[in-house]
């Protein structure tokens, strides 16, 4: 029978087929853990006298609540420090390898998997973090889980799950110059809504997707969850193989050939059927930003803040009214007339080397707008080292930006990097929820290129506005 990519990966991991209403038992190839969603799971294991079944398929990193300054000193916040210390103690007790602060591989969990070569096509990957969908860029079935499920995977290396429905998101033609993977995924989320993907695994296809780099593909898959989908996937191809080859944990020699031969069987069969399909024309897209308080509330950067009265759906209208009050915006205002206080470049969505290069190429030789603060946070210690070897840190610092150590930083407001109440930010992260970046903070989600142009002009802007 013809199968989609996700069905092939699913079927290859079924340990026990469910009957009737019973879920399948699915094997997990890689379990990524971090300090926030794992301590209660380890406590559960201890209480039940259980072990970690496969520490060799598990790896931990410290990312969510670590500071991005003074990482050589003890973490100042005692509660954060206790949580990070709990992760270290738990890993050491149960034999799980960890990349702690100061380790070259330490960083955001979804940057670590790909950079070490642990993330490979055809795998099942889980993590107690909703942005685990990132790894789908390699043709892996990767999704976020809760702490109870983290405990389940630690104990059994499996999860009982019902098969996801399949949705093809086909993006025909090519993206215009200056339009990025971030603009593309923000456009898709605005189109399908924050609940549009519920129950589905999305497969991004079409010419525009094939032309994306691995970094761009990761940005897309990363935000699948923002459209309600548990996972997003892209079929592996030569771009994927070239990215993996030579990485520390990638197969070598004869194993490499065997792996690639298998990976080539994974793409969706020509006659496979999806449960649903969404089609976009990439050539019509432009830089895209959010104006509201959920990632579906976005418009092209060239547009104006929408008027709630124009929403026909009463629920959306009410949500828009609330969002505009929170964001302190007036309908009809041009997005490009919105001034920001802060620019955040980083996160598991856009904290990779290519993102830093894209922003640096715009910022190079220029100065940040007056009174604007910009923090640049590499996704991992390795990305930071790479960026420094290319001199990108000097570009940012010369412009007046802050160059930080790796971590989730200002994406989620649980470490020292936060917006203050009323502060407005252009952020390359993934969520513009109320208070997400700090209580009372206001977030506009943007691409690294828009973030860079905004940092120079002070208002939401694209490189074109700088004559680039």
């Amino acid at each position: 029978m013809a199968k989609t990519l996700s069905e092939k990966v699913w079927d290859a991991h079924v340990v026990a087929q469910g009957e009737g209403d019973t879920p399948d038992l699915l094997y997990v190839d890689l379990h990524l853990i971090h300090e926030v969603t794992s301590p209660q799971a380890f406590d559960g294991l201890r209480a039940a006298g259980r072990k970690v079944r496969r520490p060799d398929l598990t790896v931990a990193t410290e990312d969510h609540n670590v500071p991005t300054l003074n990482i050589d000193k003890p973490i100042a916040d005692p509660i954060s420090r206790a949580q990070v210390e709990a992760l270290r103690t738990n890993c050491d007790e149960f034999g799980v390898p960890r990349y702690s602060l100061g380790h070259a591989e330490q960083g955001i969990v979804h940057v670590v998997g790909p950079q070490t070569g642990l993330t490979q096509p055809g795998m099942t990957i889980v993590c107690g973090d909703s942005h685990t969908s990132t790894h789908g860029a390699f043709g892996a079935l990767a999704f976020g889980i809760g702490t109870s499920e983290v405990e389940h995977v630690l104990a059994t290396q499996t999860l009982p799950l019902k098969k996801f429905k399949t949705m093809a998101v086909t993006v025909n033609n090519q993206l215009p110059a200056g339009v990025t993977a971030k603009d593309l995924i923000l456009t898709i989320i605005a189109k399908i809504g924050t609940g549009g993907g519920q129950g589905y695994v999305l497969e991004y296809r079409g010419e525009a997707v094939r032309n994306l780099s691995m970094e761009g593909r990761m940005t897309m898959c990363n935000m699948s969850i923002e459209g309600g989908a548990r996972a997003g996937m892209i079929a592996p191809d030569e771009t994927t193989f070239a990215y993996i080859q030579g990485k520390d944990r990638a197969p070598k020699g004869k194993d490499w050939d065997e792996a690639v031969a298998y990976w080539r069987t994974l793409p969706t069969d020509a006659d496979a059927k999806f449960d649903h399909e969404v089609i976009l024309d990439a050539s019509t897209l432009s830089p895209f930003v959010t104006w509201g308080t959920n990632p579906g509330q976005g418009v092209p950067l060239s547009a104006v803040v929408p008027d709630p009265a124009d929403f026909s759906d009463p629920v959306e209208r009410t949500a828009a009214e609330r969002a505009l009050v929170y964001m302190d915006l007036t309908p009809g205002t041009k997005l490009k007339d919105i001034f920001v206080d802060t620019v955040f470049l980083g996160s598991c969505t856009n904290g990779r080397i290519e993102d830093l290069r894209a922003a640096a190429s715009i910022i190079e030789g220029n100065k940040l707008a007056n009174n604007l603060k910009m923090i640049v946070v590499p996704g991992s210690a390795r990305v930071r080292l790479q960026a420094e070897s290319e001199g990108l840190d000097k570009v940012f610092v010369a412009a007046g930006a802050e160059w930080r150590n790796a971590g989730c930083s200002m994406c989620l407001g649980m470490n020292p990097d936060k917006l203050s109440s009323g502060e407005r930010a252009a952020s390359t992260s993934n969520r513009n929820f109320e208070g997400r970046q700090g209580p009372g903070g206001r977030t506009h989600l943007v691409s690294p290129q828009v973030a860079a142009a905004t940092a120079l002009l002070g208002h939401l802007a694209e490189p074109k506005d700088l004559g680039m």
Partner: protein, 196 residues
Amino acid sequence: MEAFKTHTGIGAPLRRSNVDTDQIIPAEYLKRITRHGYEDGLFKAWRDDESFVMNHPIYKNATVLVAGAEFGTGSSREHAVWALMDYGFKVVISPRFADIFRGNSGKGGLLTAQVSDEVTEQLWAYLEQSPGAEITVDLPTQTITAGAISASFEIDPYVKWRLVEGLDDIGITMQQLEQITSFEHSRAAWRPKTLS
């Protein structure tokens, strides 16, 4: 896990859609390493606003939350379920739940009852008209009754079975260890490992 059969309790109308898990419990509270004691963080930012519905003393003992569509979107934090349960909620009623939140609820013993937009609206109207009114949620028959309202709700049949029986997932899977071991023998040797 405690078995869930029927529950009757005060209903709280939360007339908002896209209640993401950052609103249910902000990240600041996620630094704790315990599984309980999150009630103080529930809807923290909203509760700082005096007019927020949950600040009405009548909802201090509410146990059934009636919320808008896309409840529980965003972060996978199971702390959102813990915070709702620690506050005293046994049931959340909504037209649509985010997948991860719904999964987490099923593990923790919080019932997520999915109803139509119309039923949600009826329940809101009823609760707003009669603040402090009770709602009964019967899991075996999948029915909600409140005043003159009687409606059915949807829930995954497997999750329903586990909740009604009060079964622990890991315990169930542990009975399949032989199959897991045999699956592991069939895995390709080149699959990556985190330990060398």
